[in-house]
Every structure is written in structure tokens, then in C-alpha cells.
Amino acid sequence: MITSQEESFFSELAAGHSGPTIPESKRVYFQTRLRNRIFNFILGKFVVEQKNGLTKALLARRIGKTPEVINRWLGSPSNLTTDSISDLLLGICAGELTPQSESLLNQSRRNSTPAPWIKEDGKWQTKFDQGKPTSTNDTVELPLLKMAS
């Protein structure tokens, strides 16, 4: 279900090609999202290749950059140029980006909050196990209230 806040936020987008100017602050918000998405994508590739022996130093050498640059690029999202993105993916996984996009309009929920115990109606439920010790110095495992993964 789309909330009124979301409808309002996407109103300029939903207005079509002849609609009003998209406010710069909203464009900035989506620019930030894209930076974060690209960074997350690259970082995810790096994390995978770390298990195959890749290090920041090796990556820096492979793509002709200093370690400081690699630290900065992999440390946090930034306004990477497309050339830098290309270099990183080549060096990390011998890959290249295959762009695709998806509409921001007519959204449907993908999954619920990771903390289902926060419910707008104020009600929540937990599960209990009545673990009991079976012998001296036995360990009693207190079941945790698990959040959705």
C-alpha cells in the first residue's frame, strides 16, 4: 500500500513528461541512492573476491591506482566517475556493469520491516520456549526474539 507521504514524494515523477520540474532536493536524494547502490554493488563484488585472495593492495596495482584511492573508493559511497567504476569492476572481478532501471511508480512492497516487533498498531507477539536445565551446570538457552531476516 502506498502511503500519502510516498505519493506526495513521487508526485512530480507521476505527473508525466509535461509535469512540473522535479525539485532539486529530490533529485539529490535519488543521486545519493544511486551512489549508494553503485558503491554497494562494487563493495559486494570486492567482499566476494576477498575470499579468493583479493586485497586492496592487489586491486590498486591491477588498476594503476594508489592504495589511498582504493581505500577511499571502497570505504564509503562517493561520486565515482563511470571510468572509475569500470576500472574497479575490471580489477575486482574482470567484469563490467550492465545497467538496468526500474520504475519508481506503482510500487509494491518487497518485504516487511526487519523488526516486525515494531508494529503501527502497537501490538506484537513473541515466542517462548520453556527450556529447563536437565543436569547440573547444564546450559539453558534463552531463545531470542528473532527479527525477520
Binding site: 510516498e6 532539486e24 567482499v47 517462548f128 551446570n137
Partner: protein, 216 residues
């Protein structure tokens, strides 16, 4: 007399005597482990704590970000044209990224930060962390604590190096500055106002605090 070893959260162990009052309380589980959640829900209901939800419903949600009134006013908008609006829009994107990103880079040791997204601050026993929202200038730091694993409570915000007219705090500047110390104290105080009887979680590894934390 039977001695029971309780293996609780974070693998901390506590030996208690069977039949003791502490064990009775522990066996009620919810009384101990659910209470911070009751407090969170109560603060949300009171309008003193706010849950951030990504504006794009399609985003995968891996973690939870809760915000104080101060942070929520920056995040929820509407964003006015100009530097404040642009900066707050960026900050919202960065906070939403905490919710959705598969990996988050972490500076585990205070004063060792380079470009990581979040970091523990000195003194680590204070359990105060900061989120680095670095671009564009002015860089901002959002101070937060963990209510549970993957549950961030963002409490205060301060500019990193230059004054910002729409933030009431002075720039943090050098890591040994009074402003840094005051920012951490204020974060702890804001937590105490919201949760008078509960401490943030404490752990010995990144995985105790969040899923997908990356130490580069």
C-alpha cells in the same frame, strides 16, 4: 544444589542457582529481552522516536533505523530549496542505505577511521557510534547507538569541519576537541532521556552489532 549456566545474548554466561529470583526472571525471557522493545514502541507511540522507512517500497530492508525528533526533522522534509534541503536529502539517502545495504563498512577501532561509513567512537564502552555523511560538503556526523543488533537509534547530528547555520552544534573539528567530547556526552544523554533504564547493546565483534558489517 543445581547450578544453571545461562547462555544469553552475545554468548555472555551467567551462573545462577536454581530457584533463585534471577533465574525466575530470566526464565520469563520477555521480561528481560523484550523490555527495550516495549520502550521503543512506547517512544514511537509518544512521537519521540521515529522509524525511517525507505521511500522506495521495493528496497530490501535488512536493518532498522530509528530516529530522534532532531534527526527526523532533517530527514522527513519537505526539503526546502537550497543548501539545507540538499544536504538533508543526501543524509536521508545515507540513512536509508543503512537499512537496505547488504554491506556496510565499519571502523572498529576509534581514531583509525579512513573512509568507512560508520565507526565506533572513543571510549568504546560508551557504545556511541557515528555515521559519516561525507558528501557533499559540509560533512555531517550522525551519532547513534544500537538498541539491538541491526537496530540503529540515531540521536544527534553535528557538522564535521565547518559551521552549518541550520545545525545548532559547533563543528567537531579535531578528534580530541571539546566538541567531540560534548557530542558523545549529548548522544548518551539523549539516549538516557528516551531509554532511562536500558543501555545500548555491547559486543566484542562487528557481527554483534550489525549484519553485513565489513572491516576493510
Amino acid at each position: 544444589m543445581l547450578s544453571v549456566k545461562i547462555k544469553g545474548y552475545f554468548n555472555r554466561e551467567l551462573y545462577v542457582l536454581s530457584g533463585s529470583r534471577i533465574l525466575t526472571l530470566a526464565r520469563r525471557r520477555g521480561l528481560i529481552y523484550m523490555s527495550i522493545r516495549e520502550e521503543v514502541k512506547a517512544r514511537i507511540k509518544e512521537g519521540r522516536l521515529f522509524q525511517l522507512k525507505p521511500l522506495n517500497e521495493k528496497d530490501n530492508k535488512r536493518r532498522t533505523v530509528l530516529m530522534s525528533a532532531e534527526i527526523s526533522q532533517m530527514i522527513f522534509g519537505p526539503w526546502l530549496p537550497g543548501p539545507m534541503g540538499f544536504r538533508c536529502a543526501r543524509l536521508r539517502g545515507d540513512l536509508e542505505n543503512i537499512i537496505t545495504a547488504e554491506h556496510i563498512t565499519v571502523c572498529w577501532d576509534p581514531f583509525k577511521a579512513r573512509d568507512e561509513q560508520i565507526g565506533r567512537l572513543d571510549r568504546v564502552q560508551d557504545e556511541v557510534w557515528d555515521l559519516r555523511s561525507q558528501e557533499p560538503k559540509p560533512g555531517l556526523r550522525v551519532f547513534f547507538r544500537f538498541a539491538e543488533k541491526d537496530v540503529f537509534v540515531a540521536l544527534t547530528c553535528a557538522p564535521r569541519s565547518v559551521s552549518v547555520s541550520w545545525l545548532r552544534r559547533l563543528p567537531l573539528l579535531d578528534r580530541t576537541s571539546r566538541e567531540w567530547r560534548d557530542a558523545i556526552i549529548e548522544c548518551r544523554r539523549e539516549w538516557r532521556v528516551l531509554f532511562p533504564t536500558y543501555e545500548p547493546i555491547s559486543g566484542t565483534s562487528v557481527d554483534d552489532y550489525l549484519t553485513g558489517g565489513v572491516l576493510l
